[in-house]
């Protein structure tokens, strides 16, 4: 499989995973996945996939800044997503 095809398959999978049970998370994660994900470094892509695999309630608390993720790399990715939501 070509690299670009794999990237697009990853993107489709992640877009699907970004559709959560919580609308608040959809509003934040979907635009980021669709418009920003492919521009991330390989390391950040891995961290983003880890973030997407977390529980909805944890994600909600991190994104609403009610709590901080104990994993600093995931927290860094939370900040990147929030920064994108605020500035584009």
């Amino acid at each position: 499989m070509k690299t670009s095809e794999k990237q697009h398959e990853d993107l489709r999978r992640l877009t699907w995973h970004s559709r959560r049970g919580m609308l608040e998370l959809d509003v934040l994660l979907l635009p980021f996945t669709e418009q920003r994900y492919l521009q991330l470094s390989e390391e950040d892509k891995v961290q983003y996939q880890r973030l997407i695999n977390c529980e909805d309630q944890d994600l909600f608390n991190w994104f609403m800044e009610k709590s901080v993720c104990p994993d600093s790399e995931i927290q860094r990715m939370v900040n990147i997503v929030l920064d994108y939501a605020r500035h584009g």
Binding site: L23, E24, V27, F63, M64, E65, Y84, A85, R86, H87
Partner: protein
């Protein structure tokens, strides 16, 4: 492009209820205590003043929030405002203190029952996520103006 939230706004029934409560309470007390006859016109005057002040609230029928920029539509007429991170989030309403380019202040409130459930949740999220950013933007622009 920052996260954008758009919502249609319907007239709120809660707003009318909240507006009516102080007037009804005052009138009820008057009826219970049977006070002086001059209290009745006083209550009517207070009620009319209260109603008049509340009626002058900005009634938008559509809102778009994009980061600290807020666009309100009133009868197909759009107006642009800036949010500086000041406002109030409660279970019943969200209130933004908005400013125009000409430094005109607009307190704008959306009641819970005037938007759909998904819009309410998206606006809630937007308020929480954008508030600190809007405050920083405002401090930055005020700092550079000084």
């Amino acid at each position: 492009m920052p996260v954008t939230v758009e919502a249609g706004i319907r007239p709120s029934r809660w707003r009318i209820f909240f507006e009516a409560v102080p007037v009804a309470t005052g009138f009820g007390l008057f009826m219970v205590w049977g006070g002086h006859p001059f209290l009745l016109p006083l209550w009517l005057l207070l009620g009319w003043l209260f109603w008049h002040v509340r009626r002058s609230e900005f009634d938008a029928n559509y809102i778009r929030v994009e980061s600290e920029r807020v666009v309100l539509w009133q009868d197909d007429c759009a107006s642009q405002w800036q949010w500086r991170g000041v406002g109030r989030l409660s279970h019943a309403f969200i209130e933004w203190e908005l400013w125009s380019d000409t430094e005109e202040r607009l307190p704008f409130r959306i009641w819970r029952d005037s938007v759909s459930d998904p819009s309410w949740r998206a606006l809630n999220m937007c308020f929480r996520v954008m508030q600190r950013h809007a405050q920083k933007q405002s401090e930055g622009s005020l700092g550079s103006a000084e």
